[in-house]
């Protein structure tokens, strides 16, 4: 009798002390490269969604090949994303913090590959 009463009290306390179920908060960077003049829905568009990790020391590497001579490397730690272009003229690097992504981030710019092709780059904290 006493054991049953205690069990009931324990279950009641556990049920009342909790809130809604939650998963991990996540921050993401959406990257899309589209050949200038083409539609972003074109098959020539290249995109990736990189989610920032949660643990200290975790790193998530991603890469997007633009054409034979140019690529973008994405490296995400839990506090920032580093975007580095190779084989392009102009912008070579961009760092975006988690704070920026959590506040809602969007940017667009153009890079040109060594082969002469221009690409419209879109960055966003919302993956499509």
């Amino acid at each position: 009798m006493r054991l049953r009463t205690r069990t009931l009290i324990l279950v009641t306390v556990l049920a009342c002390a909790c809130t809604n179920p939650t998963g991990l908060p996540h921050s993401r960077l959406w990257f899309q490269a589209t050949p200038s003049g083409a539609s972003s829905a074109s098959t020539a568009a290249r995109s990736t969604c990189t989610e920032l990790p949660e643990l200290l020391g975790s790193v998530i590497d991603d890469a997007v090949s633009l054409d034979s001579g140019a690529s973008a490397a994405i490296s995400a730690s839990r506090d920032a994303v580093s975007l580095r272009f190779s084989g392009t003229a102009g912008l070579e690097k961009r760092d975006i913090t988690r704070t920026q992504l959590d506040a809602g981030y969007a940017d667009s710019f153009q890079v040109r590959s060594s082969a002469g092709q221009a690409y419209d780059i879109s960055l966003s904290s919302t993956c499509k």
Binding site: A15, P21, T22, L24, P53, L55, L56, G57, S58, D61
Partner: protein, 193 residues
């Protein structure tokens, strides 16, 4: 085992921020090459939970209402190596000793989001350059002894690997390395002391 020092040179990346205090076991196998000198190998492992990092700790504290752990966290270590001990009174019932060991080290931490089915694991490997130990063997019987032991290790992690749902997403050398250590208080059971 209590973590001290830094996992890497990155700001805020102290070992205790990644890993909690650990509970573990170490097995050793070796022989006395003289009355006073023991040479052997060791292999050990430990387990714990997340370290003191506030963000991870907040995530790992379960707050759901379904009586299940929606976000679980864990950590652990493995180590192996060679060790040398000098025994000051090898024939006595009470025998103080000092030891030195060296060998590779592995540590891992994980966070699993059961709601989104995402498992993130980051493992580091390196070397324990010095595993200094001291203790007192109490010979309880001819073939059995007990030894309260204090150990301190000094090591460095060299490579880091991250996996998402068991798929490798990063595997590289750690660019800014740092020294770390583990302080261990334990009790050794010794066969044929």
């Amino acid at each position: 085992m209590v973590p001290v020092g830094d996992a890497s040179g990155a700001p805020g990346d102290a070992l205790h921020q990644r890993y909690s205090d650990q509970f573990g076991m170490l097995l050793g196998l070796g022989a006395k090459v003289s009355e006073a000198i023991y040479v052997g190998t060791y292999f050990g492992g430990s387990f714990g939970t997340n370290g003191g990092d506030t963000r991870v700790d907040r995530a790992c504290t379960d707050r759901d209402d379904n009586l299940q752990n929606d976000i679980s966290c864990g950590s652990g270590t493995l180590r192996a190596g060679l060790e040398l001990e000098y025994h000051f009174q090898p024939a006595a019932r009470v025998d103080p000793w000092l030891g030195y060991g060296i060998g590779p080290e592995f540590a891992t931490q994980s966070i699993t989001d059961h709601v989104r089915a995402v498992d993130e694991t980051t493992s580091v490997t390196g070397w324990e350059y010095a595993r200094l130990a001291g203790g007192i063997n109490f010979r309880l019987a001819r073939a059995v002894g007990l030894a309260p032991t204090l150990e301190g290790s000094l090591g460095q992690f060299n490579t880091s690997r991250t996996e998402l749902n068991s798929v490798k997403v990063h595997d590289a050398a750690i660019p800014d390395r740092a020294l770390h250590g583990w302080i261990t208080v334990g009790l050794r059971l010794i066969l044929f002391p």
